[in-house]
Symmetry: C2
């Protein structure tokens, strides 16, 4: 690789000191205009690029944030990252992005490698595998600030940006109640997944407030797979008293449910109304379009970034805090019962 131009090269060529070049390049006062111009001209001609490693080293500041997410293939994370980047750029920071592929080991490695002087703080969403938090506590002990979002652990006292999952599920369930559903089922995730459990909680609370009894047979836990969703939905359909409303904890599962309903010649929303979570692009692509709870992804990213930068710039005043953001229920065909007169599909 060709030698990159340094201030030393410029200084030598112009017969001035590197200090002068450094000052001229950064428009500092007390530099003779002609000198500055000569430096700038040569810098341009030679396409000089300052070495940020050197600058960061001397300033002990990188103005860079580390972002660790499980998988950018999930629309949710890709979208949150956009929010992070927007806010970071606005405040003069760069971001280093790393995905763990839901692997604890890669989470460990990413965190460790970026914490060797490259970033001033982290925005983290934990991998599914992570159940040991020592690596995070070590970072904390070293005084490196971090902010969590979405995937969380109560083991750590750090800033967090979450979403009101209980409230969101409550709203989604109530929406079905208002749409004349009398027996509302829930397709939940695995029993140990906290987000799914929070949504279960909101669902139960809504049923209670609606004066509905709770029928355990209408609550089904399962893996996050299309196949499992189809299977669970088929099970619900075959109950002696099948549901007329369904809350599904994620869009991908909801797609499976809709497939299953079609196979069973059950109409959505006429025979059963459906609401799910995340508002991924797929919701508007399938037929019927799926009603879904939108997460404020951009805002999650911006808020997390803002919290982190505040902590970096004012460690004393900014202790760990938890922000809970509002969701928004996007109502579409799959649950719009009273407005649907004829069948389109």
């Amino acid at each position: 690789m060709a030698h990159q131009v340094t201030i030393k090269d410029i200084a030598r060529h112009l017969k001035v000191s590197v200090a002068t070049v450094s000052r001229a390049l950064r428009d500092m006062p007390d530099i003779k205009p002609e000198t500055r111009q000569a430096v700038l001209d040569l810098a341009k001609e030679w396409d000089y690029q300052p070495n940020v490693l050197a600058t960061s080293l001397v300033k002990s500041r990188t103005k860079t944030l580390g972002v660790i997410v499980p998988d950018l293939g999930y629309h949710f994370f890709a979208s949150v990252v956009k929010g992070i980047e927007a806010e970071a750029i606005a405040r003069g920071y760069s971001v280093l992005l790393s995905q763990t592929g839901e692997s604890y080991e890669r989470e460990l490695i990413s965190l460790q490698s970026l914490s060797r002087g490259q970033v001033e703080g982290f925005i983290i969403s934990l991998s599914q595998e992570t159940s040991n938090y020592e690596h995070l506590k070590r970072l904390q002990r070293r005084g490196i600030p971090m902010v969590f979002f979405d995937r969380d652990t109560p083991d750590l006292d750090v800033s967090k940006v979450m979403v009101d999952n209980v409230g969101a599920a409550y709203e989604a369930t109530m929406h079905l109640v208002k749409n004349q559903c009398k027996r509302i089922a829930l397709l939940a995730g695995p029993k140990n997944v906290s987000v799914s459990n929070l949504r279960l909680e909101g669902y139960l609370k809504a049923l209670q407030d609606a004066g509905f009894g709770i029928d355990e047979s209408l609550i089904i836990h399962g893996e996050y797979s299309l196949e499992k969703a189809i299977e669970s939905t088929n099970h619900l359909v075959r109950l002696s008293e099948p549901p007329d409303g369904l809350v599904v904890v994620s869009d991908r599962l909801a797609v499976g449910s809709i497939k299953a309903f079609k196979q069973n010649n059950i109409r959505v929303p006429e025979d059963i109304a459906l609401v799910s979570f995340n508002d991924e692009p797929i919701c508007t692509l399938v037929t019927p379009a799926i009603s879904s709870v939108a997460q404020p992804t951009l805002d999650i990213g911006r808020t997390a970034t803002s919290l982190l930068i505040d902590q970096i710039e004012n460690p004393k005043e900014n202790t760990s805090q938890v922000k809970v953001l509002k969701t928004e229920l996007m109502i579409r065909e799959s649950s719009r019962r009273n407005l649907v007169s004829g069948k389109i599909d």
Copy 2:
């Protein structure tokens, strides 16, 4: 932020020189075992992390690759990045990931900022807006190696990893021919998009080889939007001689076509068989499942990375070269005509 532990701290505490600490930490020969052990013990106790900025600076090597993609929200890019990361890790490199959001300006900024000493080379897929290549030529002049994939420009003599789009479209079209389609339409992208044009070329070639005439009215160009796809499909449906086969240049457009067919009570694949490109997850989620040309995303990532690292490590022997990878047609319900006996949907 708390002061991070340095080798100086360790040296002072152990009353040895920093050189000795540095050597002990890296398991160099000629260090007294007791000295080494003392250093390692203290480093562990204090959770010492070497500052990579300093190391990179003195070694003039970062062992880091810059990856610039338009949008990680596209499944294609997210997946290629996984391939890049896998290969990079395997060869002892890190990657710095940056998305441009299809903005020329952000492409410029990312490239510039990472090229200030942070990375040793780039893997790039150009933003849609980019039509001026000066920023890339500047990098080239500075001797920074780069490899392109997917989004390309003939203006630059660099290594590229592409996919055989002509061949893929040929295969997709021929697949419809074999499935008894007699009038095959093409839903293409905007006229200036090279990938779309290559697919058009393959489509035309296949029609020719199949002995079909070319009917310009069956070829429709348009924006990459769901609405536009629906509109174009409606137009095709209303032709006096409507098509019985359809090649669509992208899955998202194909979803629009299927919506339009449903609205017109046209059965897929019975009345019209459909094939599209990219094999995004949506293909298996919609009904009917969409036949689609899969790109070897992981392999694209691995190959690009491998080319880049070779160039970094052996600039002389590794001049720019173009690799063309094979695609794979995934056949699903939307085009499986002769196997479908009854209608399911």
